[in-house]
Amino acid sequence: MNYPIWQLDAFGGGLLIAIIAIIHVYISHFAVGGGLFLVLTEMKGLREGSAEILAYTKRHTKFFLLLTMVLGGMTGVGIWFTIALISPAATSSLIHIFVFAWAIEWVFFLAEIIALLFYYYTFGRLSPRKHLILGWIYFGCAWASLFFINGIIDFMLTPGEWLNNNNFWSGFFNPTFWPALFFRTFMAVMIAGLFGFLTSVNIKEATLRHKMVRYCGLWLLTPVILLLASALWYKAALPPAQQEMIFTRLPGMQPFLTLFIWLTPLITAGGLAMAVLRPQAIRRPLTWLLLLLGFLYLGSFEFIREKGRKPYIIHDYMYSTSIRTTELGQIQETGVLASARWVKNKTITPENRMAAGRELFNLLCLPCHSDGGPLNDILPLARRFSPAGMRSFLASMGTANPYMPPFAGNEEELGVLADYLTTRLVPGIADSPVHISKEIIVPPPFDRETAGYLLLASTDRGMILSSEPEQSGIDFSFGPPTLRAQVIQRGETPAVLSEDIEVSYRIDNDHGPLLGNMVATDNTFEATLSKIPAVSQDFRPYLLAEIEAVQGGRVIAATRLKIGISTEIGCRNCHGGPWGQQGRTGLSRQTAANILAVHDQRSKTRLGDDLAAGRIVVCRDCHADHSRGAAGQADRLNLSAAMHGFHAAYLYKNSNSCTFCHAGSDHGTTGSPEDLHTRLGLACSDCHGSLADHAISLLKEEQEAKKPGSNKLLTLLADHGTLPVESIKGRVPWTMEPDCLTCHVGFQPPETATAFNSWTADKKGLFAHRFGDEGVLLCASCHGAQHTLYPADNAHSTEAGNLQPLQYQNSPYPIGADRGCAVCHTVAMDEELHHPGSLGTFRNRLE
């Protein structure tokens, strides 16, 4: 906020630092370990009276001097220059907090240079004792430089008590100071061995060459155990937050951890091979290979340490955006643009939205991301998001995405930045509104005068979510629907028949008809489909089932039922990828692959490999799916809790959080929800709670079952629900759902419009399974399935949602509405048999 941003584009994202720092760090560790190598090798030469070893030591010193003083020294200055350009605020903090540590390091740097020059230029001119003293002074000063730099570097990762007392010494001797010092010292000794190979392998005389190569091998191999021990000490000294960030939370860290772990035995084996194998044809390339591996070894460690600080540049003190933790709240209130010094657009207007977005991008994204570069490129990330998805992602930074700093701006800036990232920086995947052409569906004929039977059909789910596993490769679909039918023999006292009657269904779709008979159970015929039938390519969010009741070989009644199928799933809003079909619906394989990549990274799974191998990843194999009674694994969150619990942390702020993932957005392919309640102005959250409340209710049940992960997700949501977490009742999905009678007390018009937190006790209480007061007719037989209650208003067809009312009553209202008892009873009735109020005039008329 304080300094201008160097707009590096492709060279951003830490590329400059990575290049300069890793070269410097490698050479500067050599400058420390190599100093010890020089004196001990000279001592070896003196002890053995070997002029050849002394000559080798001098040659190695020349190489050492040219490498460490020139490239090592200058890249050290280079790091300083670079960090001051990339993160001036953090550099300023480090300079001011530790100015005298830097100054002390400079004193040792000066003494180091003088000692090394004297050491090299007095070979053979000073007595051995004096010459060795110079060597020891050099090593002592070089190690002291490491000592002081180490304090500052580790302060950035673990500032420890300094955060509370601002005391120089607390910051310097921070929690990881000692393990890091030992780790780096042992690393320096190993690197001395690696560079020793480089000169010793070129000794002309074979015996001496072999002897010195083996000697260098000792330098490489001896400290390995100590290095590993200090690495473990280092890890143990890390505070929990840094440990978690490095070892579990940070995306992309695993390859570096793996690299570091695997390089240890690899370098050890290389060192042994150097000691054993004599042919120069092997040793020479192996020397270079080992040097490269050493470079990667130290590089991976430094990368882990640097990334482990995220989202800070100085842990718990300054975010990577150079905003101090203490300033964040004020900036979020005031706004980034108003707070930052180096911006042109202090306020946002319709005209400058994108220019302001660019400035927000400069301030908040460029400190870590490159724009099209090889490191931390923001472009592929931005391409994954729709503007709304990006808004959710930005809002989740610092919580669900703990490796990124909290978004520092206000709500308006969040929207502007999201729009800039997803519409200007990259072409974006935002969808334009869909024009839906309505189809006309003619209900089957019904002659009120002559018909003897009525066939009422429904499904247990009004809208069935399908991830179309065969196409997408991932299966988190709801359980297939159960079709239900009730055959009513018309008469003054109608009978609901179930004997001597066969009821069959036929669902036509692109893959051929799906046929079957329904099984009679008491008053109802039922058939649970083996799978969710595929919707047609000529997309409509439903299929039509033709249902017939046959008695004695004669069709006595027939009707048509809409089975709502939702394939418009918004995963791509955040996970990217195209739509699966028709350009506007369906989960594509690419989106599925992106989803699984996140899952693999976060949960240490290999599901992406399964997908790539052509196998369908079935979520319920691990996560219990109560919509179909799949048990999953006992120690995993159930599918509903996992899905909503995880995503709520990102989407809780989103005003359209339900239709962000589920079908039903106003401009989507499926169209607005067709349910009566939607038309009356109710939102999903009125019954199910806000996304955070909804997720909390699911997670609390899992928490009570002590499921791993539930606590963490609940913590993320703790402050984001509309109700206190303690007051939200846990529930089992698909069993404990909002109860209609919470609002419709005694079947009367509602006095409240909030059904959240009052759950059905068991499945019998669910609307889909509930019967009227007479105990015979399913609620859904007269009212339609939940979420598609009559009079429904399906965006694709005026008739589709109301086929049976239209067939039997020529009106879209529930069966028997408006005192239409005659549809079954053939005569008017004056007794409210089915439920109180059933003889009233239907209140909510279509316009």
Partner: protein, 356 residues
């Protein structure tokens, strides 16, 4: 846009600013001396190769010592850069970002120049016709680096020129519009040639006093470099002074008196140094030059303070005292200097050892 709004908020100091000013001025003086020798020698070596028929003895000497001068110029540059950042970091980080590409290129140029000095040194006898090329690369790179440094020191004290960042945020901004930039740069370069020549003269004088028969013959040419560069620098210096804002040239009060006093003292010392130089009285000239440089470093600091006066004063910096790190530094600094002195004593030829 008001440039004052662009100036970042400075960080807190652990001890009062005077400590840092003292350390800055002292260490900068050391850096300046070694840097002048480094750059001056690089230019002299190139000119000798380019314009003389035979390779003078001085070039052999320069080839041996030039890598050391870079090592120490950089090392002595680290300390003042550190203390400068403590006092003026909020100005200097900003100017560095504005000219980031040039500023960072210094590192690469320095590495190349440094290795070139080692090639020049270690391969001197084998370079034959390439002496001019190698020495020109060294001189050119060091001249470019000097220009970038001069540019940054100019840009950091001129916040009014910072607003151009909004049209050029890619780190490619230079402060070429500053009328002081070119004379200031040339002033530094000529001073470097003068000090480089003087350093050669001192070396030959030292050898002469230690009995070298050939050393005395080299003194005149070395002192000529010093004298003629100094004469030329009078002209450049006057130009430089003339380009300074009138507000600085006419500043009154204690600041004005100090500025004028040190400037006149410095000019007087330079005139004395020039007289001694023309007489080839090397050590007297060196003494006068040292006095002149101390005065000029002070003037330079006063000009910076005056230029920044509308925006900032170091006395505004907030202090949250912590003296123990300063004490630790001073103790280690003293110990380090003692150690260095002890090492020098250790390696200097000991008469007894030589005889034995």
């Amino acid at each position: 846009m008001n440039p004052a709004h662009l100036i970042p908020t400075p960080d807190l100091l652990p001890v009062p600013w005077g400590w840092f000013q003292l350390l800055l001025s002292t260490t900068f003086l050391l850096h300046l001396l070694v840097m002048n020798i480094m750059l001056g020698w690089a230019i002299i070596a190139f000119c000798n190769h380019a314009f003389k028929d035979s390779i003078p003895e001085d070039n052999q000497l320069i080839s041996r010592k030039l890598p050391f001068t870079i090592a120490f110029a950089v090392n002595f540059g680290v300390a003042p850069l550190l203390f400068l950042q403590v006092l003026y970091g909020h100005f200097m980080y900003t100017s560095s970002v504005l000219m980031a590409v040039f500023w960072l290129s210094i590192v690469g140029l320095l590495i190349l120049a440094y290795y070139a000095t080692y090639i020049y040194n270690l391969q001197f006898s084998r370079l034959s016709g390439l002496h001019t090329l190698i020495s020109s690369i060294i001189a050119l790179f060091l001249l470019i680096i000097t220009f970038f440094f001069t540019n940054n020191m100019s840009l950091m004290i001129h916040p009014e020129s910072w607003v151009r960042y909004f049209d050029q945020p890619d780190g490619m901004m230079l402060n070429l519009g500053d009328p002081t930039l070119l004379p200031r740069y040339l002033h530094s370069v000529l001073a470097s040639v003068a000090v480089g020549g003087l350093a050669l003269g001192l070396y030959h004088d030292w050898r002469k006093r230690r009995g070298s028969a050939t050393a005395a013959a080299n003194i005149p040419s070395a002192m000529n470099w010093f004298s003629y560069a100094t004469i030329a620098n009078f002209g450049i210096g006057t130009w430089y002074y003339g380009t300074l804002p009138a507000a600085i040239r006419t500043v009154t009060g204690a600041s004005g008196a100090f500025l004028l006093g040190f400037l006149l003292l410095g000019i007087t010392a330079v005139i004395m140094a020039l007289i001694y130089g023309l007489q080839h009285r090397v050590r007297y000239a060196a003494g006068a030059v040292l006095g002149a440089i101390i005065c000029m470093v002070t003037v330079r600091e006063l000009v910076r303070r005056q230029t920044l006066a509308p925006w900032f004063s170091t006395s505004e910096l907030e202090v949250v005292p912590q003296y123990s790190p300063l004490i630790a530094f001073l103790l280690i600094f003293a110990a380090g200097l003692s150690l260095i002195w002890w090492m020098i004593r250790l390696v200097l030829p000991n008469d007894k050892e030589v005889r034995s």
